[in-house]
């Protein structure tokens, strides 16, 4: 307890209750996942207490499951494609919001950010109706379009934050020294946004891999990983799902920590020398 509170402002006395509450909430957030991971090694399958017969069997079953791997491949394809679309549209959107003045800018901003806060069902269903009317067949492509659209908001938010930290004077100096807008964009703006863009890419990738609400309505014959898992869940629980969930957790963990480090570097790199 001492270590945790030693860095606090000297004027705030230590609070035992706050620390207790914080610990309890962290426990609430992590215990279910911990249980999931532990039971992925449980010989007797899901449920029952305490776990017995620790084994790697479920992982073995998982690795032999070709349907899962197919869906992983699908998810990866979708994620990369969605990443490309979101960035290609999100970066200009961020630039527009940061720099350009045009009528309806406030509306534009709200529209871009809307899918972030809207329940996935609305985004998914509205796109479904679009594809229905236009006669587009449902499949990975429609999922890509769904993810791409929904995740533009993530790209925009990340890049916008990066633009806020960008020193406008660097670009002014570049223009002053003779470079035109395009050259300045590629030589100054983009390199400074590098960390934000990579961070956005990581985030979009992870979110796309995990996405289920929008994908639910746009699915065709091929499943993404979350939808594959969902299908299995409807049929019954197997500990194999614990195993794949554990792996998903580990990957998400690594990705997010990486994203956070990049963000921190972006913050300090631009503030410091």
């Amino acid at each position: 307890m001492e270590l945790l509170l030693s860095g606090a402002s000297a004027s705030l006395p230590r609070s035992r209750w706050l620390l207790l509450h914080a610990t309890a909430v962290f426990a609430f957030l992590y215990l279910p996942i911990a249980v999931l991971i532990v039971y992925s090694f449980n010989g007797e399958g899901v449920g029952g207490f305490p776990p017995r017969h620790l084994t790697l069997d479920w992982y073995r079953v998982l690795f032999a499951d070709s349907a899962i791997w197919d869906s992983v491949l699908n998810s990866l394809q979708v994620a990369f494609a969605a990443m490309a679309i979101s960035l290609a549209l999100g970066i200009p959107a961020a630039l527009a919001l940061d720099r350009a003045q045009f009528p309806g800018k406030a509306l534009f901003r709200r529209l871009v950010l809307l899918p972030l806060i809207l329940p996935g069902i609305i985004t998914g269903l509205s796109l479904l109706m679009l594809f229905n009317v236009s006669g587009t067949k449902l499949g990975l492509m429609t999922i890509v379009l769904g993810h791409g659209t929904a995740l533009i908001s993530v790209a925009t938010t990340e890049v916008f934050a990066g633009l806020q930290k960008l020193d406008r004077r660097q670009e002014e100096a570049s223009l002053d020294l003779g470079a035109n807008y395009w050259q300045t964009f590629w030589r100054i703006t983009i390199p400074n946004l590098k960390l934000s863009i990579i961070g956005a890419a990581l985030l979009i990738f992870t979110l796309s891999m995990d996405e289920i609400a929008v994908s639910f309505f746009l699915i065709g014959r091929d499943n993404t990983l979350p939808l594959e898992i969902w299908g299995r869940l409807r049929r019954g629980i197997t500990p194999e799902i614990n195993a794949v969930s554990t792996i998903i957790f580990v990957f998400s963990l690594l990705t997010i920590v990486l994203w956070y480090r990049l963000r921190a570097r972006a913050d300090s790199g631009l503030d410091g020398e």
Binding site: S9, A10, S11, P13
Partner: protein
């Protein structure tokens, strides 16, 4: 009353005034950074004391220790007969005016000023009366219902002052409150603050890096360097009798003359004069205004040297001139006589105006 009179009165008043705050051997370290090393200082009731120092000297840290936002690594702070530094800030009869004013943005000017009284659960009628009085004193009554974001920096500063003073603290701490103001407003506020302090009679401890500000406002100056006090005395004393070379250079302009004393004679490069000093190396502080541009014939009893003007700076009432003399000695001279660049001039000063000072010890 002239400034001299006021200072004299203040000095006598303080000389007899009881000690309000006693800082005893306070030291503060942040990690491996030693910010304050053994600082001892007594603050008298009703005095205006300025803690003066460069950035990094520890002056703000010292102030924060008095306020209670930092705890000293060693040493004690006493107020009267009670130990102060083991109490949290909200129990000390000390109030602070912050550098960035720290006005509560969600409260009006009036509510900001009333804050301390509300927290102390004073009756509403009393609060209303005291707040009105305080706002009147800082001339902000017209803005009582405004929010801080709607008033200027100078106005915010007054509100911060009112907010602190309305609680009638035993001691008011001011952390570089004028540094964000432009020069003219600053000068105006210096005068206002000084008269306000005399009016309320509360001891003010003022922190600044601006030596001119310190000399204008204070009854006493405590010059802090690298966590230790160089000199604590009145502005007049600190100017005319600096204790060390650092003090001499920090306050106003000076010429530092390095030389050797032997058998009652001092030799500083091409200069020499009689002075009763023990043999050995000596260091003098000679203020530019004590050096005159002399006529053709040397005056009796004055130390004389000749040189050519290498730099001139117009300072309004006077010129600050740099004269390169024989032996490479460059003297800064304050004069009304405008001499053209490169011209040869003769300079004179009285030997008694060269004040011996100690070398400043190396720190860190």
């Amino acid at each position: 009353m002239t400034t001299t009179d006021i200072a004299a009165v203040a000095l006598t008043a303080i000389a007899g005034a009881p000690t309000l705050l006693s800082i005893r051997n306070v030291a503060k370290t942040f990690g491996r950074n030693v910010v304050l090393r053994d600082v001892s200082l007594n603050i008298a009731e009703g005095e205006f004391l300025t803690i003066l120092g460069e950035s990094g000297s520890g002056k703000t840290t010292l102030l924060r220790i008095i306020a209670g936002f930092e705890t000293a690594t060693s040493g004690e702070v006493w107020m009267g007969s009670e130990r102060l530094d083991n109490q949290p800030p909200y129990r000390r009869r000390v109030n602070t005016v912050f550098q960035s004013y720290a006005l509560f943005p969600h409260l009006t000017v009036e509510q900001n000023v009333a804050y301390g009284l509300r927290v102390a659960k004073r009756p509403e009628a009393e609060i209303a009366q005291r707040v009105a009085e305080a706002l009147d004193k800082v001339k902000m009554s017209a803005h009582a219902k405004s929010k801080p974001s709607k008033i200027s920096g100078g106005q915010q500063q007054r509100v911060a002052l009112a907010r602190a003073l309305v609680n009638r603290p035993k001691l008011l701490l001011l952390d570089e409150p004028l540094s964000a103001l432009d020069a003219n407003l600053r000068r105006q506020m210096q005068v206002e603050l000084k008269s306000l302090q005399r009016e309320v009679g509360i001891a003010f401890v003022f922190v600044t890096h601006d030596q001119e500000e310190a000399t204008v406002m204070s009854d006493r100056i405590a010059l802090l360097r690298s966590g230790e006090l160089e000199q604590v005395t009145t502005p007049r004393e600190i100017y005319s009798r600096p204790a060390t070379a650092y003090v001499a250079q920090f306050i106003g302009h000076t010429n530092l003359l390095r030389g050797e004393a032997r058998d009652g004679l001092v030799k500083c490069g091409a200069l020499s004069w009689a002075a009763t000093l023990p043999d050995g190396p000596v260091l003098f502080s000679l203020r530019p205004e004590h050096i005159r541009v002399a006529g053709g014939t040397p005056s009796t009893g004055a130390v004389r040297i000749e040189g050519s003007v290498v730099h001139q700076a117009f300072h309004g009432a006077t010129e600050l001139m740099r004269v390169e003399c024989s032996g490479g000695l460059v003297l800064t001279v304050r004069t009304n006589v405008v001499s053209p660049m490169g011209s040869r001039v003769a300079l004179e000063f009285a030997a008694t105006d060269a004040v011996p000072v100690h070398e400043s010890p190396e720190r860190r």
